[in-house]
Every structure is written in C-alpha cells, then in structure tokens.
C-alpha cells in the first residue's frame, strides 16, 4: 500500500510554516536566509510529490529551476551581508534601518 499524496502535502506545509516562523522571528539575516531555504525546500517537496502523483515530469523540472534560483539568491544575499558587515559592524535586521523614510 503506497502513501497518499496528502501526507506529502501536509508535511510540506508543516516545513513551510516552520520557515515562515523562522523568517518572522529571527533577527540574524543568516538565520533568515536559512529559514527561506527551509521554505524553498518545502515547496520543492510538494512540487516533486505532485509531479510524481500526476505522472508528469514537470514538477522535477521546476524543482531544478528553484534550486538554481536558490543558489543564486544565497550567493548574492551573503555577498550583500558581507558588504553590510564591512561598513556597519552589526548585522541585526532591526538595526539596519538605513532605508527607512
């Protein structure tokens, strides 16, 4: 007996909610990035599960693109973080309000 699709979707939703909680509570930008990775992984899991149960290879293709975008996003984001740390000496997201009007 195989596992119903619903279990994968619920698991994906739980991981996505954990990511939301992390993004909204964390103040360290690196930990916010990690929570975003958690959310991207949850979406990848649901994409692959849907593709598998629909008999369609499109879900896995989309997952490949999500992974590529995640890699690009992390490299640019961490570069920005290093640049901020070089000038500010503090990377708390509540202290970095230089764009506030």
């Amino acid at each position: 007996m195989s596992i119903p699709l619903n279990y994968y979707i619920v698991l994906s939703m739980i991981l996505f909610s954990l990511g939301i909680a992390g993004v909204t509570t964390r103040r360290n930008p690196i930990l916010i990035f990690m929570s975003i990775e958690l959310m991207l992984n949850a979406v990848n899991l649901s994409l692959i599960a849907f593709g598998r149960y629909l008999g369609d290879a499109g879900g896995q293709m989309l997952t490949i693109f999500v992974m590529a975008v995640a890699a690009a996003e992390v490299s640019v984001g961490l570069g920005i973080l290093i640049a901020i740390f070089r000038t500010k000496d503090n990377v708390d997201v509540d202290v970095l309000n230089g764009l506030k009007g």
């Binding site: 007996m1 119903p4 990511g19 598998r52 690009a72 992390v74 640049a83």
Partner: protein
C-alpha cells in the same frame, strides 16, 4: 485517511524522514547558535533528499545532497565563521509579543493549508512511475530527455538559468569583493 499506509516498508521510510525533517526544521527555527542551526539545516536537507528518493526522484535527491547540503551549506558556514557569528545569542534573542504573533500566524497558515490538503481529495493514490521515452522520469536519462527537449518549454528557461547564475556570480564578487580605495571605483 488510511493510516495503515504508514505501516508498510515505504510508509516507515516516509515516517522516519518526515519526523527527521520536522524535528531538524524546528531546530533551525529555535536554536540560538547560528552554527548549530546551520548543521540542523543540513540534517533537514538530507531528510528531504530521502523523501525525494521515496518519490522516485533519484537525480534530484543527488542534486539536493550535492548542491544544497554541499555547496550552499558550505557557503553558509563560511559566512557564519567569517563574520564570527559562532557565539550563541549574538543577534538572536526573541521578543515576546512578536514571537507569539509570528508562531501563531505560522501555525494558522500551516493548519489551514493542511486542512485544505486533507479535505479536498480523499486519498490520491500512486500511479505507476511516469515513463519518458523509455526511461523513468526521475533518472538522469529521463530528466535530460525532458529538460533538453526543444518541444517542451524547459529548454529556453534552462539556458537562461545559466545567465542567471553568471549574473549571480558577478554580483557576489562585486558585492563581497575587496574595496579598500573607494575613490578609485569612479575612475
């Protein structure tokens, strides 16, 4: 809902990886030390790779381990150590009301979406594995035959992904590069 599905061999595998993924994901969210949170995220990524295997996505499970758990997490750990964030509670203290609101909204969202997923279609059962021109959909051959097929929409996007990665590499080098004399940048 047929909970007996979880007692088969495949179900136990799903249960193991699901519990590991949720537990390590929770640790990512609540641990104070960024280094430990990063290592929990590695466990989470491995667990999700195991779930990919249970969905017959062999190539993507491998890519998940190599790219996510390998490359991206090394980048995270590198930056954590470079910025010397390894000590606990540098910037990670919680604030009461905002934390409660954030967690309750996350639980509300997750519960709502899970309720939709459980209500909508009773039990969508597994079809046979998709066969793409003679090879299983999750294998390297199956992925390649879909991804590089000019009659399907993925090839053009795949080419532009390479451009995206090029831009990301140049952007990361420019942002994190050494700029000791800012006056020379305008020359």
């Amino acid at each position: 809902m047929t909970l007996q599905a979880l007692l088969s061999g495949q179900g136990l595998m799903f249960l193991f990886f699901a519990v590991a993924a949720i537990a390590s994901g929770l640790l990512v969210v609540i641990l104070q030390n960024p280094l430990r949170a990063a290592l929990s995220l590695v466990i989470n990524l491995f667990s999700v790779a195991g779930l990919y295997l249970s969905l017959n996505a062999y190539f993507l499970a491998t890519v998940q381990v190599i790219v996510y758990a390998g490359a991206i997490m090394v980048l995270f750990l590198f930056v954590i150590m470079l910025l010397n964030m390894g000590q606990a509670n540098m910037n990670t203290s919680y604030r009461g009301v905002r934390t409660i609101i954030a967690f309750s909204s996350a639980i509300g969202f997750g519960g709502l979406m899970s309720a939709v997923a459980l209500k909508g279609q009773p039990d969508v059962m597994l079809p046979a594995d998709a066969i793409v021109t003679g090879s299983p959909a999750g294998s390297v051959e199956g992925i390649g035959k879909v991804l590089y097929n000019p009659n399907l929409p993925w090839l053009f996007a795949f080419e532009w992904t390479s451009f995206l990665l090029l831009v990301a590499v140049i952007g990361a080098v420019v942002l994190a590069g050494n700029r000791q004399q800012p006056s020379e940048d305008k020359a």
